[in-house]
Symmetry: C2
Subunit: 451 residues, 2 copies
């Protein structure tokens, strides 16, 4: 019995179940029947073998920062909490990669790396676990330069539904040796396997960082500025958009006084010369497109203050309507359609009567509206979900995706068929092949099995 | 009947069968039973549906440049030749992407793109078809900067074994919407589906290009130079290694007079300022590590001459032993092990008595030996295959892969279990789920089905 073997690392206490059944989405809490905390891959394998024999569903748990209800125990079962698997196993300086356990958070990894001159660039804002970030194919502010988890996971160790341990990828920088199982598991949201180890690509800390913020009259000009920057090949490390409403919220929380208009926040990484040159060329584009209030943050503390504002934007927005709950949307469109998508969304939100500042990763065509609803007024939740529904429809109509970076979970499962067509059945066939008993995070991502 | 419907686009003429049964590997020719040339996705779907009903194997054919016997008809069947599906469907300037048919070659695409200021960067040397490059996860000289086909295919249209047409990916730059079917099909070598359309990421043509060549006393110093360059974050667009034997062959063919020692060939893309700065910083590293003969190719014609030499190296090497056939190896290791891997390989080849110049994509840890064997002396083929076998063992021992960029085909299938362990059975399970009759390029990549 797992309970006997794992002792205090196996829990059915109400508080533990509740803590692993909450979520940041609009879905009700759905606690698992038990929580277990493995310390080794072998223990994870033994747990999955036992669950397989008992036909017990299994749900992975990282830092609990999912926004789409990924870890809700819709069919009960056992929650495997990776909170005790947080080691950095090996840093390879020359190869610029690192092997880590899945429960390690990205901030903890970067703290450990500080002395090496290397860093892990993927930054979704929340201090998520790296296993969870891989499972949901997370990205964030730096994807425009460094890519998403898709690009930064070199290999995985993972445990299949029957307890089999597999290793995917190698430490070589590339390979043509067969199906890309690493890429298949990244974004599979625990429905195919539990990740027990990750090999991650690292980056050298840039010699110089230049950051700036600037305002535009119209969102469309800001987007045009970004398109021109990309086309000129000026490498941006981050390029973030915040709309006038989001600026107002950030001003109120952080005591700042940015003009109430759309802003871009940008960062360049490079040598002293190249970062300065990139910044100068970007500044010329901003001027051409009518941008103003162009301000450089040259000192680290100014830069940190700027990005602190961006990272705290979600909380600033929440605070702008006291007592409100946020429904966070997440769409991504081809960048040529971004201005149109944001403008339509802005108009739709304005007509709805509920507040919803917009901010996004403009270099990827990805943006979020934080719809602020009063939890005591059920009609506001309905309005928010209708707005969210129309946003997804808009994204799909424009050749984009229902989720740029938050993942499918429960929240976007209803759109998979519209987005993927027959491809969604292919995902179901792969799931069926690797998890025929449907025990791995059942009820998520893929179609329900027949019968 | 396909023969009736396709008329002259369906052939069983001996010459057509022979032309689609040859290959560049050491394997004997294995012609298909018929060749068909579809013009539309609908035709491909109809062909696959008919083959499914008739239990007829299906093998895709691009430009026939595979080095590992990917398209050999080991179980007979129908060869689907994409030579009539070569259109550029749509160029999206603002989004920097393009939709193409699979038979289009990379050179033809770049010719069509010339006026747009954009280019497609993946360059495996051969003028391969883009469908074939995706199917084998090709890369080449520019992967160190722009990535492999894994990184440059945004989405696919593909036809499954039963004729079902699926679309994977979107035109958005990123997505977290479910399993990454694009990444699963890239590198699947026609064993899961036939690719009928690709959406590819494009790059802006760089404002400035700086190229250089330099010699080193020891291969190890050249590799250390590359590692230092990467760690300093100096962005190289290409960084190629050719050993002393390869230099001699190139000198002989192209009338050049590079010293007979290991060389690096490097290229920087950027603005005038940044390319010059990158070049200067790289030159300092070269000097620190004892490199010499450092020569810039500043004019386009000088640069073209340099890369012409690299692109023709394979033919130069072949010509260095008249009448010889080349057995091309392809391994990839973590870059920290590259010097050791090349040195061991060099010593092993030298001891074997057959010539085998080495060249490679040093920024990726990927290199090739071109083993020159006399086709009339069967013992040389045995020696070459033994060398190749030990190279793969070496790569796997060092944490690398059996194939960096040439793919599995027939040549590397025997190493899949050693490289992937239980993961190879997972690939087999996915194949079984999507192609239960084992009709798509049977006998390649995955384990044989049971029974």
């Amino acid at each position: 019995m797992l309970a006997d073997r794992f002792g205090s690392r196996f829990s059915q206490r109400a508080a533990d179940l509740a803590a692993h059944g909450t979520n940041e989405s609009h879905f009700p809490d759905m606690p698992p029947e038990a929580v277990i905390q493995p310390e080794t891959t072998q223990e994870v394998s033994d747990i999955l073998r036992a669950c397989h024999a008992a036909r017990c569903p299994v749900i992975g748990w990282g830092a609990g920062t999912s926004l789409e209800g990924h870890a809700l125990a819709v069919a009960g079962g056992l929650c495997v909490d990776f909170g005790r698997m947080t080691r950095v196993i090996e840093v390879n300086d020359a190869d610029m990669d690192v092997r880590v356990q899945p429960g390690l958070t990205r901030e903890a990894l970067n703290t450990e790396l500080r002395a090496t001159g290397l860093f892990f660039p993927v930054d979704p804002g929340a201090n998520a676990s790296l296993g969870g970030m891989a499972a949901t194919r997370a990205s964030g502010t730096t994807a425009v330069r460094y890519g998403t988890m898709r690009d930064n996971v070199l290999g995985l160790e993972a445990v299949l539904a029957d307890g089999t341990v597999i290793r995917t990828g190698t430490r070589a920088r590339k390979s043509s040796a067969g199906y890309d199982l690493t890429a298949l598991l990244v974004g599979s949201e625990g429905t195919l396997a539990l990740i027990t180890e990750l090999t991650l690509r690292l980056q050298g800390q840039p010699e110089a960082i230049a950051a700036a913020v600037c305002g535009f009259d119209r969102m469309r000009d800001a987007v045009d500025c970004v398109i021109a920057t990309i086309q000129l090949g000026i490498p941006m490390a981050r390029i973030e958009f915040i709309d006038a409403e989001a600026v107002a919220a950030c001003n109120a929380r952080s005591g700042l006084d940015f003009p109430r208009r759309p802003h871009l926040m940008v960062e360049f990484h490079g040598s002293d010369t190249s970062a300065a040159e990139d910044a100068e060329r970007f500044g010329e584009l901003v001027a051409d497109l009518g941008g103003s209030d162009f301000a450089w943050a040259q000192k680290p503390e100014e830069r940190n203050r700027l990005w602190q504002m961006r990272h705290e934007a979600y909380w600033a927005i929440l605070a702008s309507r006291p007592g409100a709950r946020g429904v966070v949307t997440d769409l991504c469109v081809p960048i040529s359609r971004l201005a149109e998508a944001v403008e339509e969304t802005r108009a739709d939100i304005d007509a709805s009567g509920i507040p919803g500042p917009i901010l996004g990763h403009v270099g990827d065509g990805n943006f979020h509206a934080v719809l602020l609803i009063d939890p005591d007024r059920p009609e506001e939740k309905r309005i928010a979900l209708d707005l969210s529904h129309r946003m997804v429809e808009r994204a799909l109509r424009m050749g984009g995706t229902a989720t740029g970076e938050h993942g499918v979970g429960l929240g976007k499962r209803g759109y998979m068929e519209a987005e993927h067509g027959a491809g969604w059945q292919v995902m179901g066939a792969i799931k069926q092949a690797l998890d025929p008993l449907n025990l791995m995070n059942p009820g998520k991502l893929v179609p329900d099995p027949e019968g």
